[in-house]
Structure formats: structure tokens, C-alpha cells
Subunit: 358 residues, 4 copies
């Protein structure tokens, strides 16, 4: 319980259910004096908004955010920023059948086991709509970090068996799948069309690059920067794997392949390669931070599946309604948001690492 | 900073440097009344102890633990348990050269960037010896969880390119590599011999199975059980990847492949398969929890490497001394310990999930 | 920073400024299955609402609360409860002068020192209106604790030099000063009339009795139940002192006077007296918990005062507008709320104190 | 549970029982580069050591501290500092009788209720010896804060009915009661002699002044600096009251008396008086912080008292052994330590209050 908050100094608390009155977030520990307005947040929220392509739910919620506190005369005041998005178009009647059984791959069963009952409308608290608060908080974190020279870039690396082969940064925001490779995007779209026609869905991989992180963020033991990134990203509903730098490839590499040599680049110590993914011993090493998250296929599929109902009868079901055949593109901005939340907290925690800084 | 603690109710704080006077751990939040003695802890500590085979550092530290508080008349009292291991055989002189440059793949550089200087003896705080405290805490957690019917089994799944093909539970503790496949163990040993002769090292993968976990542990949003396992395991020095259930494979699977059907097994709701790895929506689903961690190759290799010294000169170095060509077998018990620490905390946090339990 | 949350399992986060769009609270860690509706909260909010007598600000805000999440079909779901109160009647123009100088006894100066600027409208975040979120959370905590047999009673013990001499429980909610002594209430009213006519204000003392607390809540060292009550109550704006049981009187007592004898009352171990105030060694002892908080006089007075403006000029000011000559009666419900928040968290934390309970 | 830690960035965890093998503390989050040695800590430990006068327990423990980690080449490294004091002269047999009944005023009963059993030797975890860890941590905090220009002075303000009338700073460390008034010290000593002869004990008041605190420390809502001081001081075993500035006197004062005027002192904004005790709205205002703690009389008295034994029989007991007739003088350094721990954490937390500082 009390699991809806993350962060030490920069502390984010989300609240809200898919079909409740509203969803939102309280963001505490934002340094005072940072310019902030609703547009800064809406830009990122729009990236996660459904209904942007035929591969994402057409429910048109709008998801317009309002800042209710913590900003005065266009700047953060240092007090908690409360952001709310009111739900529109709730049609609870759509979900009456779902209340009666446990959808495979969803949290219906585990919620009932934990709490004794659940808000079954649209997944309730376990809905992807909970990420609205994360993205809003991520937008605030990115705004602060931008002033400190730190920037984030997340994108789709693969959808099902289709991976990117080239990296065209400009392409990312040109296609609805957020892939930096136009050709791969076309192939992935064709793959998704096939799945749609079969009532099935696909997983994929999101990659994120963080640039401008100074060496020194993160702590040696349990609060390693990579450990906190792992937790933050793994706390996103559909994530099943996380790796940094060479990740699982490092397990089959030799030490001489995996180690990054230090070099002197115009008087600054840098690494010749970046197998580490920008973190050594849990502390940022000054290279870009690079990590990947594996996203499972959308569990809601219209193809027939076996499950049990609340009475315990084994039944066959087909999840009705229009569902994303893939959530990877919508997860991209959520992964980026969680990364920003984590890095800002580590940045603020690091201000007191040595007496010279105090 | 203040990064040496983990857990909410069951809170673990490690301390100590590789070549300081001692290393240890304070374990707070242990329920009262659990039988506990030093042998319970020593058994696990012995599994991580170096010098057990030709692939692990022959430095014979002993690593004998002492319980200094929190146990009375053979039972835990509910107050913090302080466990200490005094360091023996410290030969600081061995490390004088290392003080002068930054070892590739180690945290020397990032510590200097963060703190301005570092205890360079044997890696100081970033040494693998820090895990002594983790393993001691894991032993305590496993003792408590055993009374609640929850057990842990971790083992080596692969070393470099050599993976297990069979699973023989009894074999795990029969071989020094903790592999459940005798044949794979032989091949892995040969591979390590080659690396040793070349002054190189290997990574690998550790897998862990947790059995007996009731449905309901973990929380829906940031405190998901898998997110906390990810953090706990990623906080171990050499981990570069973490995945649960089908993990990265899920990214290429279809929804109909990845979903686990619910079934009625003699009146109890179970899953027909376990692609989820025992966790749905961040909450344990009653199936065994299965996860893997990718471990990078030991960064200390005797082969020649390029780096810079503290003066900024680019130099070529060969790390002296005898170093493990692989740390995977020693990491096995550490992974298990971090899993136990995480599951116990989730178990205790879950006591207040519903009013009927209060 | 990040100072807007309190509690470990039962975690409360308030947000909002006096003259922002809204104020509110997110309450996480509420056990599932507790009946809850807006009326449960409004009852307590009405007790802190201004404009109830001539001694409290007549600004008629309404302060109508809305539950936005965490309740489904009339019961708590175990997920965060978000409660909001929208601000009405904001007349920011009233506060333009106040922006220019530092009001004595207020937080204007310290906010500017900490954050570089402040939302000066009505005290911004340091306004008493922030307690709306606390009272809403306290109402939820009391609802849960009522199911566990624990109840709270707070009242005005003294206003300025006028203290209660009798204790009539029924009288408390009959008079606007929440005093359990009708005669003292009359005297206190006369005293306040005098202060009003002189443009001055008064402090006072709030007392709180908590009944039905089982022995065992609270922890031995830093998380003592009385230490957490002290923090919770001291976090209310105007509190300058806190004491439990005999409190400061204990400092002049002898050990034989101050110790409470244990007795056997029909097979149950009780205390013959309650000098301890219901807590021994930081842990509840089964007797009623009794504590007091000293509230300072309202700093906003219309009498002339010396201060400096933002330019540093020494000036003389008279705080305009109608201000409460005493905030003690409005603080009563806030003290009660903070007590409830603290006791519920201690109750939930105590579920894992011994292995028999797990 | 898990109640043995305090602080956010500067985090202190104590462990150990009165008659266990050792007691100690782990201090995490100490900025790197601060000169520190065992003598820095021993000086403060000696001030709390028993056996210094006829009014304090003559048990000669020595209480010699050892630093086991976190310091290298005479400076803090930024990693956790583990400090241990080994117990000497444990004569557990002395405590066999005490195991059988509940001492009035002690935590024997509440520990049994909470944990099911207790380490009865010398009070176990609830012993005053637990404060060894606090004082060691306070010494480290004071060392860091001294570099930042912040200093602490605590002393005995009253013992039973005998209060100080003058304030002679030099006198404090000249007399065994740590009173800044020689004459009051003589009277208090006579009073204690009388109590000793009657087998009784006395309470008293400790006052603490913190100088050099810049304006801006502490946070507006729950993490108010005074709220955290209240908690920290109230977490010391025998404390029954806490007040800041005018404290309980403020409750009978008028607003015009209690408000402190701001003045311009050579271009710096100061307060003409300090009724606030150095904190406004939870944030330090630049004036000295002044607070007081009420300490209850030592519960162990040799005079006869009524209680019950574990079988539930009502019995009459006389606590044997030599006990301090007053613990106030020994509490002085503990109060100072808790203040230092609190202020350092607030100082470090405040580094990120505004974007200009980042």
C-alpha cells in the first residue's frame, strides 16, 4: 500500500482510476523559479494520448490538463504542483461483463486477491490511464532538467519481430510508431495490420537516450542510478525487461570487450566506448545513458481465450471493444517520463555529496 | 547519498569498505519471535565466499559473521539486528598503484567525480565485499519467509555463451558454478579455463525462482513487486539487465501467446502457464516468481587495457593480482538475497491491504 | 522540499495555496473495504470552516469537498483517495499591499529567503487553508479507526488566560469555542471581545484524548508514537508547544509521583493512574492517550506594528481586513485530524511486529 | 517496526541493547571531505557517560567508540560511517528478578505487548544506552555543521523545582549538572541529595540554543523544522514536552506581544525580538533557534511501588541497584545531538529549494 509515490526530493504521487471522475498527480520538491505552464505538460500528454492512429484506442478523451497549485506568475513556487485531467465520455456500462471474470494478462485477479474487490471499469487503477500523472510529472522534470542541460530521447526500437536498422532522429516524431527508421515503421505497420485482422496484439522494445548528464549522479549501493531507472521503468504496467548499455549482451561478452577505456579528450576524461550505458558502479559516468525496456503485447485481444469467472467456472472469452494491437508507441513517452523523474531526483540528491558544494 | 538502505518495513542498511576494519549490516523491522542464530547466516555467507574454486579469488577472508544485537534467547526481538564481519588479511600496499589511475569498467572514476576522492583499497565501498551485508540480510529474510512457506532457488543459467539445457535441482549445489546442468558446467569450466589463460573474463546470467508466494504481494503503481525486484537486483554491482517471466522474449510474442489462461484447479484459481513470471499488474499472482539477471564480465582482467591516470595521461595497464574470471557463481547467492529482502518487505507491507485483515 | 507528505503506510500528501484554483489531498494506503462518502469528510471540514462565529473570519468559502478517486461503490478500494476543494471568492486584489512587506509573525520573510519569491495572496502555501487537506485525511483516518474501536476527542482547554475548570463532553460541540466548560466559554468570549476592540489577538491550548488504542502501537526508537504525534501536531502552523500526559509538569514531579502503578483489573493489566498519557517507551500502553498543543496568537492584528518592506525600509503597518482574534477553536479539528493520521499509520505499521501475526 | 532510522539525506540508524554485545550507529549521507576521527565523537560520548558524579550511575562502561567504515585518510568518504561501542561488564544475572514483573514508568509492559517477549536485561532496547548511537551521530553532524558556521549549546534549565536565574555560558561545563548558574546548581544538588535519601528521583528541563542557522531551512508543511526538532527530541526516552521560542507561554500572550518586528540591521533583515524561537512557518528565520524539552523523573526508584508480575499478581517492588536520581544532565548532550542531526538534514534538503542554486 501507499505505493503511489516515487522519489526522495523530487516526489511524484499519482492518483485516479480509468473511469473515475479524474486522474492526476501531485509533484513535490520542484525547485522554485522554473518557468512552467500547462502547455509544457500538454505537449507530452498529447504524445501518450490514444486515438492518434489506427493502432491506438480511438476513445477521444481529450486529456486536457489543469495546473491547480504550485505555480505563481508563470513560475514554480517550490510548493507542490497539483495537475488534474478530468475524465470525459465514461461509459461504465461497457464494462459490466468484464466485472464478472478475470481477463488473462490483466490485473483483475491480483487486485481481487489483494483488496477483496476492484473498480472493474476500464481496469480501474491498473489502467494505462494512470500514466497520465507520470507523463505530467515527467514533463515538469524535463523542464527543470532542460535548464540544467539534460535532455531525453525515447523511441520505438522494435515491434514484434521488426527492429530498426537505421537511426534517423528526425523521423521519430514523423511517424505514429515513433520509430527512427521509416522503412522499419512501414514493416511494423504491416505486421500490426495482420495482427489486427487476427484479433491479436504485439509487444516491442523502447529505447531511451539521456544526454548531458554530468558524472556523479546516483549512489553506490541501493540507490544506484541504474537501479532506480530499472525500478521506475519496471513500474510501468507492461514492462517485462530492462537493460542498460550492452545489457543482456554483456552476459556473453568478455571483459576486454565490455570494458570501456578511459581517454583524455581535450583535457576532459571520457570513455572511448559506451558499453556501460553511461553508468559505472551505479553512478553516472558522463557518457549518454542508454537503456531499453521490453514491453509485453497488449493483453486485451479479441481472439478467443480461456479463463475463469468469479464463480470459478472455466469459460471462453473474447475481449470486446477496440483495443490497441500494440501499446509500445504510447509507452515511449511514459518511459521517457519515468527516466526524467528518476534523473532529476538523483540530480537533487547529489547536491550534498561533498562538503565543497555546501 | 544515504543510499545504503533498502526496504520500507523490513529495512536493510549495509556499511563497510573492502579494506576497512569491518563490513556489516543493520536489519530493522524483523518480526519478533523468529528463531535465528549465526549459523543461519553463515551458511549463505559461505556460498558467496571467494576462494571456493579456481575461478574465484583465492583470498581467504573467512568472513565469519557475528550477531551483535536484536536476538535474545535464540529468537529475534523485533529490534534491529546488527551483523558484522571483521576484515582479515588487509594488505593495503597491494593497492597503491591502483590509486593512481582509473580502472576500466570500475567505479574509480565515478567515485572521484562524485566525492572528490575515494578509498581506493580494493574498490572501497564499490567492492563486491559490500554484498556481505546483503547476503546476511537475505539470510534473515529467508529465515522469516520459510516460516511463511516461501522459498528461494537461484542458480547460474549461463556463463558467456554456455547455457544450461537441463534442470537438475540437486546438481546446483554439487558444482562450483551453481549450474543445474552438469554437462553445461563442464563446458563452462573449459570456457573459463581458456579465458583465464588469455587474461580475460566472462559474464553470465543468474536465474531465480521463488516458490510459495501467495497472490496479493506488491502494489499497483510505483511499488510493483517486479519493479522492486528489478531495483533490488539491479543494485548489485555488475548487473546490466533484468527480466521477469518471458522478459525480453515477450517483446516479440503475440498477445495470445503471452497471456496466461486462468484455470480452476480443484477449486483454486491458477494459471495454465506462467509467461507472466508470477506477477500481474505488479502484484504476485500465486504462480512461482521467475526472473533473470544479466551479469557483466569481471572488469578486472590481466590483459592489457588503455585508460588514463589521475594526472590525465593516457596509459596502458594490466590489472595485477588474481581475479575471478567470472563472478556469476558468487553473484547467485546475492541475487537470491536481494529477492528475499524484497519479497519479505512486500509481504509485511501487504498486511494492511484490506480492513478484514486489521 | 518534498515536505508535503506524512506517514509510512497511511501516507497523506496535501497541496494547494490559499488563493489558487483549489486545495486538496491525496491519501494513499487506505485499507480497502471501508465505507466512505463525501459526507464523512464534510462533517469534519465544516468544523474548521471559517465564518462560524464573530471570532472567525467571515469569508464564506463553502469548502465543499469532492472525492475524485479511490472509492468505488461506496467503499475504499485500497488505491489513493484524491479529495479536492475548489476555491471560491478569490479576490487577489486584496493582497497587493501585503506583497510589498513582511508581516510580523508570518512566513512571508522565510518563504522569500527559501524560494526567492512567494505566492503572497492570503499567505499562499503557509495559509491556514492548507489544513483543509489535513482535515479531509483525518476524517478518512477516523473512519477507518472507528471500525477498529479507536476514537478521538479534541477541544479547547484554554484561550489566553481563561482555562476550563470542568469537563462536560456534551458542551464541546454546543459552543463556538469548542470548550467543555460553558462558564469558561463565556469568560473567554468576553476576553476575545476586548482583544477585538483593541485590534489584538489571543493564543490558547488544545487538548486531545484518544480512546480505544490497544497497547503496542509505536516503535521503540525514532518512531515512538509520542514522537510522531509531536511532529504531526507541531507541523500545524501556529503550534509552539506539545506535551503528553503530565508533560512539562513531569519536570517538577518526583519519580514516585510520576510513575503509574500497574494493576490487575479483572484479569487485564491496566495502570492505576495515567501520568504517562497513554504511552510508555514510545509504545501505547492501553490507557487513553492525552496530549496538549500550545497555539500562538493569530499574527494578523489590526493594531500598528513595525516591520520592513521588501526594499528594506522600516515601516509601520496595520494588517487590514477582518481576522480571527483567535484560531484555537478552528485548530481543534486540525489537531484531531493530525492525531488520527498518526495513530492509523502506527496501527498499520504494527501489524508485522511479531511472527504470530503474519 | 523499522523505527531505528531518522533523517532523509543525513540518515542515522542506531542499533543495540543495553546488555548485548555492543551498541552502535550507521550514519549515511555524510558529505565527503569532512575531517573526522574517533576523538571528535568520544568528546560528546564522554558527556553522556554515566558515573561522572554521585547523581549518575557509577557503572563504569568506558563507552569507547570505534569507527569501522566511511572514513579514509582522516576524512569522510561520503559512504556510511559505522560506529560501534562494545559493552563491558555485562552482569546479566543482576536483571533476573526484573524479568518477572513490569517496572512502573518503564517500557517492560509495552514491549511485551508489542513483541510477545523482551530482552529484559537493563531495559534492552529501551535502555538509555541506545542514545550512544545518537550522540555519536550528533557528534558527526556537529562536525559537519561547524564547517558551515552552525553551533549548538544545550544545558540544564531546571531540576525539579530549581530553575536557573542567571546564564553563565562558561559555567555549563564546570558543573556536573550542566547548569549555566552556579547557585542554582548548588540548590539542585541539595534537592537531589534529599531525593536520594528518600529513594526518589527528579525530572527537569533541558534548553538548547542553535546559532548560525541561515534563514530558509525547513519546509512549509509536514517537514517544518520545528516539527522535525519536536519529533527528534521527543524520540528521546524520557521526554514528555517540547516547546520552541515562547512555547506554552505563547498560548497566554497577545498577538502584539508575541509577534517579532522585522528590522533593518545594517542592510540585513533581522527580528527585533525572538519570541518565535528562530522559526517562522516551519522555516528558520535567521535568529537563534531556542527550544526546551521536559524530562520526566527517572522511573527506577528504590522507594516501594505497586505493580503486577507476569503472572498478573499485584505485588510491591523496590527497584534495586544504584540508579540516577535524575537523568537530565545526561540527557543534555542527547538533546543537543538530536538537534544537530535534525538541522544537518534540513540543511542538506534545502540545497535544492531554488533553481538558482542548482
Amino acid at each position: 500500500m501507499a505505493g503511489s509515490s516515487i522519489g526522495n526530493i523530487f516526489k511524484v504521487t499519482t492518483w485516479g482510476e480509468s473511469h473515475g471522475k479524474a486522474l492526476g498527480v501531485v509533484i513535490d520538491g520542484v525547485p522554485a523559479g522554473v518557468p512552467l505552464c500547462e502547455d509544457d505538460i500538454q505537449v507530452l500528454l498529447n504524445r501518450r494520448k490514444p486515438g492518434q492512429s489506427k493502432y491506438t484506442t480511438p476513445r477521444n478523451e481529450g486529456d486536457i490538463c489543469e495546473i491547480l497549485s504550485g505555480v505563481f506568475e508563470g513560475k514554480t513556487t517550490g510548493t507542490p504542483i497539483s495537475i488534474v485531467v478530468f475524465n470525459k465520455n465514461q461509459k461504465s456500462s461497457d464494462y459490466s461483463e468484464i466485472a464478472s471474470y478475470y481477463r488473462p494478462g490483466h490485473a483483475d485477479f491480483t487486485f481481487d486477491q489483494k483488496y477483496g474487490f476492484r473498480d472493474y471499469r476500464g481496469g480501474g487503477r491498473s489502467s494505462g490511464r494512470e500514466t497520465i500523472g507520470r507523463v505530467a510529472a515527467g514533463a515538469v522534470a524535463e523542464k527543470v532538467l532542460k535548464e540544467l542541460g539534460i535532455s531525453f530521447l525515447a523511441y520505438t526500437k522494435s515491434i514484434g519481430p521488426v527492429s530498426i536498422n537505421t537511426f534517423d532522429r528526425d523521423e521519430i516524431f514523423e511517424n505514429k510508431l515513433f520509430m527512427p527508421d521509416k522503412e522499419a515503421c512501414v514493416k511494423a505497420s504491416e505486421y500490426l495490420d495482420t495482427l489486427l485482422s487476427e484479433g491479436d496484439s504485439s509487444g516491442g522494445i523502447v529505447e531511451c537516450i539521456i544526454e548531458g548528464v554530468p558524472a556523479g549522479l546516483g549512489d553506490p549501493v541501493f540507490e544506484k542510478l541504474d537501479a532506480n531507472l530499472a525500478k521506475a521503468v519496471f513500474s510501468i504496467g507492461a514492462v517485462k525487461g530492462f537493460e542498460i548499455g550492452d545489457g543482456f549482451e554483456a552476459a556473453i561478452h568478455r571483459g576486454t570487450e565490455n570494458n570501456d577505456s578511459f581517454i583524455n579528450e581535450n583535457g576532459e576524461i571520457k570513455k572511448a566506448t559506451n558499453h556501460s550505458g553511461g553508468i559505472l558502479g551505479g553512478i553516472s559516468d558522463g557518457s549518454p545513458i542508454v537503456f531499453r525496456a521490453a514491453i509485453k503485447p497488449t493483453p486485451s485481444v479479441s481472439a478467443s481465450q480461456n479463463t475463469v469467472n468469479k464463480a470459478g467456472d472455466e469459460i471462453s472469452v473474447s475481449i470486446k471493444g477496440r483495443h490497441d494491437p500494440v501499446i509500445v508507441p504510447r509507452a515511449v513517452v511514459v518511459v521517457e517520463a519515468m527516466a526524467a523523474i528518476t534523473v532529476l531526483d538523483a540530480y537533487l540528491m547529489n547536491k550534498s555529496s561533498k562538503i565543497e558544494n555546501l
